[in-house]
């Protein structure tokens, strides 16, 4: 019942190094997506009440005068199919759960194919690097889900996102190609989710957009399989256990 910090946490904030900066960056990203018309989808198979708390915070703010923002709590039942049917490119997912939560893992690994930005809030063992766009993590303590510290993390996301929304100048999205290398156009494999397959090609969803992919290198695929696609060619099939992104 103490709020004592583990040795690698800042004793005053209870935060590990870098968490405040991660929260700031995640909040700006969230504000930009909401400003552009995106919806925040909240999912927590382990603790559904946390997903609902995030959603009600954004939709019906406790501070009078703050605008209502589009946020929805997803029920744990049929989580991935419901998310797939409802999420649109440009939306944001906030998943709350431990690093080994199969429901969260399935959502965050598919999010790039759907064009959805993923935030992951949790505690204990940290998910592998790159599992989500922003991993907001309290290490070494399973009780953070119950004693107010998770609530603090998503309260801060709400508070900081509203600050960003009051600074219109920073809300325009960063250009996709602002440097010598553009990820979208370069030699990089991209995550694709199979929408339908027939013979040698499949229709796949990449970053929320439907494209054709050649299956010559991977063979038969099933609907909702995840592939890595490079220049219209499916080059790898990701198995269900592999949570890594291309």
């Amino acid at each position: 019942m103490t709020v004592a910090a583990a040795p690698d946490l800042d004793p005053a904030t209870g935060f590990p190094a870098g968490l405040a900066q991660d929260l700031a960056a995640a909040s700006l990203l969230l504000a930009r997506r909401l400003h552009a018309g995106g919806t925040l989808w909240c999912a927590s198979p382990a603790w559904p009440h946390h997903a609902q708390h995030v959603a009600v915070e954004f939709v019906h703010p406790v501070i009078v005068g703050k605008p209502a923002l589009a946020a929805v709590a997803l029920a744990a039942h049929q989580l991935t199919p419901t998310a797939r049917a409802n999420m649109s490119p440009g939306d944001v997912l906030i998943a709350i759960g431990p690093a080994d939560d199969p429901g969260v893992l399935d959502l965050v690994r598919r999010a790039p194919a759907w064009g959805v930005t993923a935030l992951w809030v949790g505690s204990g063992d940290r998910p592998p690097a790159g599992s989500a766009d922003h991993v907001l993590w309290l290490p070494n303590d399973e009780m953070a889900a119950h004693d107010g510290r998770f609530i603090l993390l998503y309260h801060l996301l709400w508070e900081l996102a509203h600050v960003c929304l009051e600074h219109r100048g920073v809300l325009e999205p960063e250009p996709d190609c602002d440097g010598p290398v553009c990820i979208t156009c370069s030699d990089e494999g991209r995550l694709a989710e199979v929408v339908s397959a027939s013979g040698p090609t499949a229709q796949v969803r990449i970053d929320g957009v439907l494209e054709e992919a050649d299956l010559a290198l991977v063979g038969d695929v099933g609907v909702h399989d995840l592939l890595v696609v490079h220049a219209g060619m499916a080059i790898t099939r990701l198995d269900a256990a592999g949570a890594t992104r291309p």
């Binding site: 019942m1 103490t2 709020v3 800042d10 005053a12 904030t13 209870g14 935060f15 968490l19 405040a20 900066q21 929260l23 700031a24 960056a25 909040s27 700006l28 603790w47 559904p48 009440h49 946390h50 609902q52 708390h53 009600v56 915070e57 019906h60 406790v62 501070i63 399973e142 009780m143 119950h146 004693d147 107010g148 510290r149 609530i151 603090l152 309260h155 801060l156 709400w158 508070e159 900081l160 600050v163 960003c164 600074h167 219109r168 100048g169 920073v170 325009e172």
Partner: protein, 223 residues
């Protein structure tokens, strides 16, 4: 570290470079985290005696077969659901019969639509509660009418009634139907909710400890 207001003065309306904003946001996050940790810690310390009394009353009610019902509105509804889940399905420790009165949308909407939102918890207690059961209501303002009304119904049915509130208790602090009020003295709604959650968690831990001791005493007496 300062915990003063953050006015983000360097950002003019036309400012497009987010670097200054991000640095300010990170400092703001840290300052708010410090406030939260301090309020959680002082609340637990200031309410230590009350927590022990409430935990003792709850543990003896549970040992005698009492069941826990939790309720609240909005964010407090989600905290009520979290508290019920902690009691009913803890990762470790003894599972206790506990559920939240906000879980069933059919019941909630039927009552809200047919009667009014002020009865959504009280009417459920009429249907379910027995003497010796426990009602735990959460309200950040301390003044939610349907939470107060549920305490009235709970008291009428012989329940142990416990309130978790912000703003030094609000109306809950003087509610005659309440056996115990655990209050947070916070100024911000968000920091108050975080401290309420810390109180709820501490309560669960204390009740678990007491239930463990009561079980050991029982088995020694029966030997």
């Amino acid at each position: 570290m300062t915990t003063g207001s953050f006015l983000y003065p360097m950002l003019e309306d036309g400012e497009r470079d987010p670097a200054a904003l991000l640095a300010d946001l990170a400092r703001s996050a840290e300052a708010k985290a410090v406030e939260s940790a301090q309020l959680r810690s002082t609340t637990l310390a200031d309410r230590a005696q009350d927590l022990s009394r409430v935990a003792a009353a709850m543990a003896s009610a549970i040992s005698a077969g009492g069941r826990l019902f939790t309720f609240g509105n909005g964010g407090s509804a989600t905290d009520a659901a979290g508290l019920a889940a902690l009691f009913a399905s803890p990762a470790a420790g003894r599972a206790v019969p506990a559920r939240s009165l906000v879980a069933d949308t059919a019941v909630l909407t039927a009552l809200a639509n047919d009667v009014g939102v002020e009865v959504v918890f009280a009417r459920q207690l009429m249907a379910h509660a027995r003497a010796g059961d426990i009602a735990v209501g959460l309200s950040t303002s301390g003044g939610s009418a349907n939470v107060l009304r549920a305490f009235t119904e709970g008291r009428r049915r012989g329940m142990l009634t416990v309130g978790l509130a912000g703003y030094s208790g609000g109306a809950m602090a003087t509610c005659p139907e309440l056996d115990y009020c655990l209050a947070v003295d916070g100024q911000s709604v968000h920091r108050t909710q975080e401290a309420q959650s810390a109180l709820a968690h501490a309560l669960w831990e204390l009740v678990q400890d007491l239930l463990g001791k009561l079980t050991r005493l029982d088995s020694e007496e029966n030997r």
